[in-house]
């Protein structure tokens, strides 16, 4: 097991009250595998990524509990100096918007080289050769010329490749990809997905893929975790989740995808909207929007029921003792 996240809890202290952005979530990532984390805006998926990198802005944020074990070591207990060695070397991150993550006044090649110098202590010449090699690895055509290009001279897809080159320059064991294809066109999105899949095999790394796009998850992930209002509501192997979704929220999300339902008919929708994170309902957080709710859902929060075959769902409908 490469990464074990156990009861992770990240809170934000806001003027209106305390927001439990990530509420005691647990999942594991095996080496060489991809875990997909899916949910709508505000469900806590990006905060989970920042927590694993220990980059949650403090204040107002704070990791309040739980553990994150990387190959058996709890990185939440490490001093900041040790954590710096882990970032980039062991765990790397790629963000959604490559234009705002790259420095506009340095050439793309220099920025890749900087990442290599910081982590590998190579000389000027060697680090440049290595940076060009990384650009070639992420399939940037003509990397020697592209090395000198500034971010604004590149297209969105090329910039995302540069970001991936920077993230992979130290051959991390885990790559966190936070909405890596959201800002890209379909044809370029397909290219980046293909690239990430190939690199995962070549480098033998694991990927934590965070996205709101279920189809991208279906394409890349081995295991899927669905989050809703800070909680994991369903966890399953990818094939299982898409063929047999168990939580009403997952079912609703899948049904409401345009293009996968019957064209011309109205789309089945999930009524209502995401609850206010400061005033969460007492029972199941999805209860006020759920079509299958029972009395119990309003009062008691359901546990994550084990449905067998590594499939878990947080819904009272699976409560065998009562049914």
């Amino acid at each position: 097991m490469l990464l074990k996240v156990n009861n992770l809890e990240t809170i934000f202290r806001m003027a209106r009250g305390e927001v439990r952005a990530v509420d005691r979530i647990s999942f594991n990532i095996k080496s060489g595998k991809t875990l997909g984390l899916v949910g709508e805006s505000g469900c806590g998926k990006s905060v989970t990524a920042l927590s694993i990198m220990r980059l949650v802005p403090d204040p107002p944020g704070k990791i309040a509990g739980g553990s994150i074990e990387l190959e058996g070591n709890d990185i939440l207990k490490l001093p900041e100096k040790e954590m710096r060695k882990i970032r980039g070397n062991e765990i790397s991150i790629v963000f959604q918007e490559p234009l705002s993550s790259l420095n506009p006044v340095f050439s793309c090649g220099e920025q890749v080289r900087e990442a290599i110098v910081l982590h590998q202590h190579l000389g000027r010449k060697d680090s440049k050769t290595e940076a060009i090699e990384m650009l070639r690895r992420v399939r940037i055509p003509d990397p020697e010329t592209r090395y000198k290009n500034y971010p604004h001279q590149m297209s969105g897809g090329m910039r995302q490749r540069v970001m991936i080159a920077m993230a992979l320059s130290c051959q991390p064991k885990l790559l966190i990809a936070d909405e890596p294809t959201t800002a890209l066109d379909v044809s370029v999105q397909a290219q980046i997905i293909e690239l990430l899949q190939d690199l995962r095999e070549e480098l033998g790394m694991s990927i934590l893929l965070i996205t709101h796009d279920l189809a991208v998850i279906a394409q890349m992930a081995d295991t899927v975790v669905v989050m809703y209002a800070g909680k994991i509501v369903e966890k399953a192997p990818a094939g299982k989740l898409f063929s047999d979704p168990s939580h009403p929220y997952t079912q609703g999300l899948l049904a409401s995808m345009p293009g996968y339902s019957i064209p011309g008919k109205s789309l089945p929708v999930i009524p209502g909207s995401v609850p206010d994170p400061v005033k969460l309902p007492p029972g199941c957080r999805f209860s006020d929007r759920c079509g299958k709710r029972i009395e119990k859902c309003f009062n008691e929060e359901p546990p994550l029921f084990n449905l067998g075959d590594s499939h878990f769902s947080r819904c009272w409908l699976h409560n065998k003792e009562e049914n």
């Binding site: 293909e194 279906a218 898409f242 345009p258 293009g259 064209p263 109205s266 789309l267």
Partner: protein, 321 residues
């Protein structure tokens, strides 16, 4: 009956030269010869990747920008020849819904005033009835009457998009041009807005031009689909045939690039290589040929015509000429 017709629309933007003081360089051909027509009550989907000119085309059709050449006809009347009162009257008939509900609403105007503005300008109802009209519009898009006195920042993205829709409907238009209306929204919110737009179309007999990069959305809302690439329409077809039997290699590539839910252990292979070339230096022949898997010598040299084949489908590719 054809309600909106565009004839030979070209829109070139001048691009900056190489230096700060140098003369402007070659023009950017954002839209390069587009003919489309939309039947009343129909929903035409316009799909393409960023930079293909779909938003520029939408803006020309609304007369927000003037085309370099070409004409737009609304019920046979030349839109760009109109002036003064006639122009105002015609502008009312065609309205737009924007992509970003955050930046397309005035943050300092209440939602009620935003919606009422068009009603007053176009004198849709008597002054004393404006408020009732605003309430009925809010109701139509699924917002409570109390929303009228609130400001845009008090609403979520989906609600703001509803306000944008109410504003477009306020002047009783015949045609709605929706430019990526759901691209900025979450999946569950997206479905609600798509349903709302569909219901409104049926209730009010609207005609839509639906601009999107998302083929799933296009598949759901349109009757006909036009695929745009580098300023030109490369395929125009009814929706069913386009999705079941795409003709143009670009359309086929786009459809194959959509990640699918049924993976079955198969890896997604990028179907289109390379990236969209710059619209400044277009290739001499077919503009898709540098990326096309089926390109021949002819494609590099000669520009393919837009030909009609089996049952009114149109495609711009040498494979079919």
């Amino acid at each position: 009956m054809i309600i909106l017709k565009a004839d030979g629309i070209k829109k070139y933007f001048s691009s900056p030269g190489s230096g700060f003081f140098s003369r402007s360089g070659a023009p950017v051909k954002a839209v390069d010869g587009v003919d489309i027509s939309i039947e009343a009550g129909e929903s035409l989907g316009l799909v393409g990747e960023s930079g293909c000119g779909k938003s520029t085309l939408a803006r020309v059709l609304l007369r927000l920008i003037k085309p370099t050449t070409g004409k737009v006809f609304l019920d046979g009347i030349d839109f760009f020849a109109l002036k003064g009162r006639d122009l105002r009257k015609t502008r009312r008939r065609i309205q737009m819904i924007f992509q970003d509900p955050y930046s397309s609403l005035n943050p300092r105007m209440t939602v009620g005033n935003t919606i009422a503005e068009g009603i007053k300008v176009h004198k849709i109802v008597k002054r004393k009835d404006v408020r009732t009209r605003v309430h009925s519009l809010l109701d139509k898009v699924g917002l409570p009457p109390a929303a009228e006195s609130r400001y845009p920042h008090e609403f979520s993205g989906g609600q703001r998009q509803r306000v944008g829709i109410a504003r477009a409907l306020a002047v009783e238009p015949d045609i709605i041009i929706a430019d990526e209306p759901v691209a900025a929204l979450d999946l569950s919110v997206q479905a609600k807005i798509i349903n709302l737009l569909r219901d409104l179309k049926e209730d009010m007999g609207l005609t839509y031009l639906f601009v999107s990069h998302d083929l799933g959305v296009i598949k759901h809302v349109s009757d006909k689909v036009a695929v745009m690439y580098l300023g030109r329409i490369v395929e125009l077809s009814d929706k069913e045939s386009l999705f079941s039997d795409p003709l143009h290699p670009y359309t086929r590539g786009l459809l194959a690039s959509i990640p699918s839910l049924e993976r079955g252990g198969k890896k997604l292979k990028a179907a289109i290589r390379g990236e969209v070339p710059s619209p400044v230096n277009l290739p001499a022949g077919c503009s898709f040929c540098p990326r096309c898997p089926e390109a021949t010598e002819r494609c590099k040299l000669e520009f393919p015509p837009f030909v009609t084949i089996n049952g009114g489908r149109k495609v711009r590719c040498w494979l079919y000429s």
